[in-house]
Amino acid sequence: MLGIVRQKMLEQSLKKIPPAVSVLRSYSSAAKQMTIRDALNSALDEEMSADSKVFLMGEEVGEYQGAYKITKGLLDKYGPERVLDTPITEAGFTGVAVGAAYYGVKPVVEFMTFNFSMQAIDHIINSAAKTNYMSSGQISVPIVFRGPNGAAAGVGAQHSQCYAAWYASCPGLKVLAPYSSEDARGLLKAAIRDPDPVVFLENELLYGESFPVSDEVLDSSFCLPIGKAKIERKGKDVTIAAYSKMVGYALKAAETLEKDGIDAEVINLRSIRPLDRSMINASVRKTNRLVTVEEAFPQHGVGAEICASIVEESFAYLDAPVERIAGADVPMPYAANLERMAVPQVEDIVRAAKRTCYRSVS
């Protein structure tokens, strides 16, 4: 009881703290701040407004306003025929959405968390991803599967897995992982407009975070290309490639490294499949060192794929072995201190970068 009251007070006080950036700038050039939550909500709203074939489906997306409030207000605006609250039946409703997409409408299916998508994974892979190929192009499936992915805070082993590597290994799927609000808006719009199935991996802990957005990003026609990564920070000594929440950690690691004279280039992957191999390789050919960062389990992960790509295409440019930072190879523990040890921290990224530069890490 006390915990809830304290949490509410904390939320209130957080709302009162103005973002530092906008206070310092003058009005005319002030970049607006937007949370990921609002970015996703506005993207859904605009795409539903532009195309009446787009509709939402999932548990609690309607009357509850979304389990994480991403679909807030959309039921009131578009009605129950376009914002469907489903029974708790992932396999069933995912299959229904895929079948509907075969016939040309554009469902956006929400999984309350991508852990629940495992109940529906047969439809995502066999009915959605492979169908364009199996029908030799007769049937395309313009569907988006979205929801929070990866570790949250203290939710335990069955609610914390990252599915990027599993989905990204399947031909026929596109897999996106936004980091900033610009990413969230641009990539979700691109996903909804795309004629093929897209898995859109959000992050629960990022929903409340604010990022600056330009007027261009706020325009309703804004869209980002699928398959292109972004260089968040230019550098020359080591390339750090990450996606989703780990991009933030990589940027913090870069600040720490700068004090030690190491200039890191941070790449925000944005797209896990297709992977922007050419940008990552170009970066490593410049810096000659690579660190990949992901929260997910290490074996057969996104980092492993990037390392393989570099070794295949840019081996001669490497001055040090590639470094892969990932979550611990255990189901996510519950206790806070254990959870902290099971996910990469900024210090881990700093140490790995130093190792590639042959600096002591003591």
């Binding site: 009446s52 074939k53 509709f55 025929e81 376009r82 489903t86 029974p87 039946t89 396999a91 069933g92 409703f93 995912t94 299959g95 229904v96 959405a97 895929v98 079948g99 509907a100 997409a101 075969y102 016939y103 040309g104 409408v105 047969d122 439809h123 066999n126 009915s127 169908t131 190929y133 199996m134 029908s135 030799s136 007769q138 049937i139």
Partner: protein
């Protein structure tokens, strides 16, 4: 039905001659169900089935040549050889696929029905009383997705007919050994839709029931569950030695062969004579 039987027999021959590879599941004996239902559909109505699908494709209008080419892995096949026996798709005929995993096709058919309703009510497209049929077997009726879809179809009043081809066997597992309540049609009312049982070896009886169910769906009255009691004369697939089925049971159903039965009916009721029927066989 005759085309279907001849087609399936040809498949068997090619498989045993090693010209056809992979999994091949034949429909011999069950033709009445496919013909009884699908011949009542329009081109825009859709069907979704599982892997025992060649004859449904033929009934829906896909050319025998295209299906056979697909089975032989040729580029002239309906999916250019990329799909195979278990994955026959035809956009033109609204044959939305055959699905290898049982139960997988039912939500897809439910989704097609959903779109039909969405197009009519949200997109306000005229002339959209399109109906979906989902074909699946007795084994599928113990799968969770079947129940999830019975629920959603009734809840949202979707224009779909769930057609159970109960041939009593799921590979080597007898329906009676696998199911607590073997009368599948009884499961319809539990979800709020009519459940009908019909003799799946009699094409005219199937047609009667199909007319009613498809009519219900088209009028917007919602889904129906139809259980067709039928039998497959061959094994589960061409690789199945089929040792578990009692020869007496096989003989009982062979005597009720739908093609023979219809031939007899036509002749007895002077709707056709021997010569006409021989002409069909020849084609």
């Amino acid at each position: 039905m005759v085309l279907g039987r001849a087609f399936e027999d040809k498949c068997a021959k090619m498989y045993y001659d090693r010209k056809m590879l992979g999994f091949v599941h034949l429909y011999n004996g069950q033709e009445a169900v496919s013909t009884g239902f699908i011949r009542l559909l329009k081109q825009q109505d859709s069907i979704v089935c599982t892997y025992r699908d060649h004859v449904q494709a033929l009934s829906k209008g896909v050319s025998a040549r295209a299906v056979m080419s697909e089975l032989l892995g040729k580029a002239t096949g309906c999916s250019r050889g990329q799909g195979g026996s278990m994955h026959i798709f035809s956009r033109k005929h609204n044959m939305l696929g055959r699905f290898a995993f049982i139960g997988e096709g039912i939500p897809i058919a439910t989704g097609a029905a959903f779109t039909s309703k969405y197009k009519r009510e949200v997109l306000k497209e005229a002339d959209c009383g399109h109906v979906s049929l989902a074909f699946f077997g007795d084994g599928t009726c113990n799968n969770g997705q079947f129940y999830e879809c019975l629920n959603m179809a009734a809840l949202w009043k979707l224009p779909i007919v769930f057609v159970v081809e109960n041939n009593l066997w799921a590979i080597g597992m007898s329906h009676l050994r696998a199911t607590s309540v073997p009368q599948i049609y009884k499961k319809g009312p539990a979800f709020g839709m009519p459940g009908v049982h019909v003799d799946g070896m009699d094409v005219l009886k199937v047609r009667e029931v199909a007319k009613e169910a498809i009519g219900r769906a088209r009028r917007g009255e919602g889904p129906t569950l139809v259980e067709c009691e039928t039998y497959r004369f061959r094994g589960h697939s061409l690789a199945d030695p089929d040792k578990l089925r009692d020869p007496a049971e096989k003989a009982h159903y062979a005597a009720r062969d739908p093609i023979t039965a219809l031939k007899k009916y036509l002749i007895e009721n002077s709707l056709a004579n021997e010569a006409d029927l021989k002409a069909i066989d020849k084609r």
